[in-house]
């Protein structure tokens, strides 16, 4: 185990040396300062190991040979790493189909939520109309409703949606929207939190700017899309990255509506529902390879955009 800790520990050791040398550790005796630095970085390093080791455990698992798994006692460090498992798993499971579904569904939800949140937030922030306060309170209050309340009713609303999927005007005859991508996307078309967040960003735009455009004869939609929207770009990015990562990893609802529709399953849901294919110990390396594949795309997106993501996490706690 000792050698896995090295990569994570190396920067910590360097930081330790730096911290011992100067601020920003709070003043005090030099000995105390070093003691605090040691404590700080030991804690952070230990925590980081606990965060990272389970992932390495999964990677090692994906690289084991069936013989190594069946050996008594089982082999931990793969002697002959099976990198080929990452190729083979694409033959064994419809990973590309699941990947495409994940990408399509998540992109659709993100675009819809961005659009509805921006429009809704803009209306609540920049117009004075009867009912504005009521609408705002509704958006805030709706956030209080937990997701599990909606599982059953959403299922049947989609099932009995009129005039689609073989249903007649009364919503009977077919399967409605169940079994279509709409079942995965529509229930998440609006985010109350998103409206709330975008409203905050639009509040920062001065009214004079929009009124000046109105004086020049610009239409309301032109003002929204061409003037207001570009000014909240960072807000849109924050919301987009948050929504994308959240829905890429959404499992419960997708599983509920795609249990009988394998063509619509997303990456995590497919891996979960097909777990029966890996009951045999010898095949578990492939299962772990599939899990690696499901983690990797979003990890790359996250690493590229982590600055925005961090902003989106902490923005929820800021006083509204």
């Amino acid at each position: 185990m000792a050698d896995t800790s090295l990569p994570a520990a190396a920067p910590a050791v360097a930081a330790l040396a730096e911290a011992a040398a100067g601020p920003p550790v709070r003043p005090g005796g030099r000995g105390r300062r070093i003691a605090w630095a040691v404590l700080t970085y030991t804690l952070l390093t230990l925590g980081a190991l606990v965060m990272v080791l389970p992932f390495l455990d999964m990677l090692l698992g994906a690289l084991r040979t069936p013989a190594e798994r069946l050996a008594r006692p089982p082999v931990y460090w793969p002697r002959d790493p099976q990198w080929g498992n990452f190729v083979r798993v694409f033959d064994e499971l419809p990973l590309l189909r699941w990947l495409a579904n994940s990408l399509g569904v998540t992109a659709a939800i993100t675009v819809l939520q961005i659009l509805t949140s921006a429009m809704g937030g803009y209306a609540l922030a920049k117009f004075h109309f009867r009912g504005r306060l009521g609408m705002f309170r509704f958006a805030v209050g709706a956030q209080m409703f937990p997701f599990f309340i909606f599982l059953i009713p959403w299922f049947f609303i989609l099932r009995y949606f009129p005039l689609v999927g073989g249903n007649n005007l009364l919503g009977v005859g077919g399967m409605g929207l169940l079994g279509s991508y709409a079942a995965l996307v529509l229930p998440f078309a609006v985010s109350w939190y998103g409206i709330f967040l975008m409203r905050q960003f639009f509040l920062a735009i001065p009214d004079e700017l929009l009124d000046a455009a109105r004086m020049d004869g610009a239409g309301e939609f032109y003002i929204f899309f061409r003037i207001a929207l570009p000014l909240v770009g960072s807000g849109l990015a924050t919301l987009a990255i948050f929504v994308f990562l959240y829905h890429w990893n959404e499992v419960l609802w997708t599983m509920t509506v795609t249990r009988t529709a394998p063509d619509l399953q997303t990456l995590p849901v497919g891996i979960y529902l097909l777990r029966g294919a890996f009951e045999q110990e010898a095949t578990k390396s492939l299962q772990q390879a599939a899990i690696c594949v499901s983690v990797l795309p979003v990890l790359i997106v996250f690493l590229a955009l982590q600055r925005y993501y961090v902003a989106s996490v902490t923005s929820g706690s800021v006083k509204g």
Binding site: F127, I149, L151, V190, Q287, F302, V310
Partner: protein, 296 residues
Amino acid sequence: MRAFLSSKKAAPWLFLSPVILFALVFFVLPVVFAAYVSLTTWDSLTPPRWVGLRNYEYLLTRDPVFLRTLWQTLYFAIGTLAIGVPLALVLAYAFSRSRHQGLWRVLYTVPMVTNIVAIGFIFWFVFRQTDGLLNRVLGLFGLPGPGWLTDPGLAMTSAILVFVWMELGRNMLLFAAGLGSIDESYYEAAKLDGAGHWQLFRFVTLPLLRPTLLFVVITGFISGMSYFTLMLVLFPGTQGGPSRAALTTGQYMYQMAFEDLRMGRASAVSYILFALVSVVTLIQLRVMRRGGVDAH
């Protein structure tokens, strides 16, 4: 008509129209529908039959499993907070005084962007009794390796540990943001009065961190009370862990609805759970407010 549609008077309603439409179909209708269904017995194949409050009466007085799941759910929600919040706070304290924050941030937030199926399976392997990573590490120290996922007395605790692991980065970032917003002058003043490290933490940091603490505790409690996707993956092929020891109310409702097709009773479960969560959240808000906080 065209002139009206592009006027300033109509604009907010046009901008809000998708939201209003959505609210009617996917919010108001479901809330009313679920309330109605909870007063019926309905297998989703034949028309629902009105039974009044009988589902609620059955769950609260006769169902032996339901009350047990409520306790187990509370144990899970409170356990994750009791372990996770102090841990995140201590780490945030260390984090906000460290260098290379970008690196630490990435390491601690990776679980937040990992899908729950992957997390569940990762820990299913980590927790394996004979050859899992955790018991191997315990073995290095000569400690016995328990059956984390197979021992009914441990199953829910294992789920708590995974959940704490998942949420640690988020809570640490929230606390770090809270710590960062505390003005340095408070510390200077306290230090002039001779306050030590512990006193600084107890009398300056903690009171000023209350809004963040409130936010973390309340959102954590709500998500802990409604959570069960992790348990589905950690305990595959069971009805909520060994001897149902990791069965939460949410999962009980899910099984009732989508496996046993008891939509009426399941809807009643969801409303009871919702009521419970709301009441506890209001109490938390009240208590924290009395402590001099007015967040949100």
